[in-house]
């Protein structure tokens, strides 16, 4: 979508950018260009509502440094915020661990065995950090 975007530096100006969510990256383009101006990796980030139709993305290691986005409507803002919060690989990993655990409790079987990945360290419940 085309959104207004403002970088984290002091005194940065709101610019129109074509913003595209691809897996766990948020790409942004000048509206008439094919190559992206830049990208944000959406891991360990926080999406916060700033105004009724605006939100910001900041990263856990520096929460005051915010990338601001202005949407066309509150509905669009909510839609983007939801999508961005679900976009990280870490979120999917947690979901996978959760589902695996639930299925195991209900059926007594490990659903990851069919994929041959049940032993992988990254899917163990102990690795889940809030």
């Amino acid at each position: 979508a085309e959104l207004g975007m403002r970088g984290p530096k002091k005194g940065s100006v709101l610019k129109r950018r074509l913003v595209k969510l691809v897996v766990n990256f948020l790409f942004y383009f000048r509206t008439d260009e094919a190559e992206p101006v830049g990208a944000l990796l959406l891991e360990r980030c926080r999406v916060t509502q700033e105004e009724p139709s605006g939100f910001s993305i900041s990263f856990l290691e520096d929460p005051e440094r915010k990338y601001h986005f202005a949407c066309g409507s509150e509905a669009q803002c909510q839609e983007w915020m939801g999508a961005l919060r679900r976009a990280s690989y870490e979120f999917m990993r947690r979901s996978l661990i959760f589902y695996r655990n639930e299925i195991q409790k209900m059926t007594g079987k490990d659903p990851l065995e069919q994929f041959g990945i049940s032993e992988e360290a990254r899917f163990q419940l102990g690795g889940l950090k809030a």
Partner: protein, 257 residues
Amino acid sequence: MKLNERSVAHYALSDSPADHTGFLRTWGGPGTAPTPSGTGRRCWFVLKGNLLFSFESRESRAPLSLVVLEGCTVELAEAPVSEEFAFAICFDAPGVRPHLLAADGPAAQEAWVKALSRASFSYMRLVVRELESQLRQARHSLALHRHSSWKAIGSHCKPQAPDRRSPGLENGHSPSKDCSPVDSVEERGSEPAGQGLAEWQGPASLFLDRRQSPAFPETSYFSTLHNWYGQEITELRQRWLRRVWGSRPAREKQDGP
């Protein structure tokens, strides 16, 4: 192209689980010849999610390179002269050279190829979707099973209630409606569990339902499930009470939540 490099580096070095780590020899990188030659450069590699980082050493604080593992396949490769255990990350995109890497031994090579093949976001998404659908089915069968056990318990009370209840149950959480248990509870008018953590979403809503669920899986999901089953048990009980003309259902055992 700009990238939020500082944050990316933080993620690389953070204590979030690494999916695979180890030393590999690499030939890519600035200042190297266009065709692989020599023994390559030995770097410390860290795979996190769909991102492969390389570092000069295990103690380095800044990554040397990042490869995003989307739209690629991993294949065993013909190593440069006298190099064994090599493999390549090949990209779909035109004009992008395969990324050549070599492990220290056959076990490491196999482990890396496996790990990298499964690293993509798309693969992860596939697995999560599959598990979601399995969980939905498991919940559905569990609910039907509970009906059979309620039948057995109430058999001296002539239970027709459970039979008639089944269609109701279907409405409550039929798979075709794509509802998570949180939403089923909401539809019955009982309060949704989990006021919880506003910024996080329960994964139950990830693909099943576009609406946001405030429930965080680890805690409030269970109380939601309890509310949900508890509701059904309450209704069933009321019907039994009506049928049995007020005689106390002394032997009624709740194996619910």
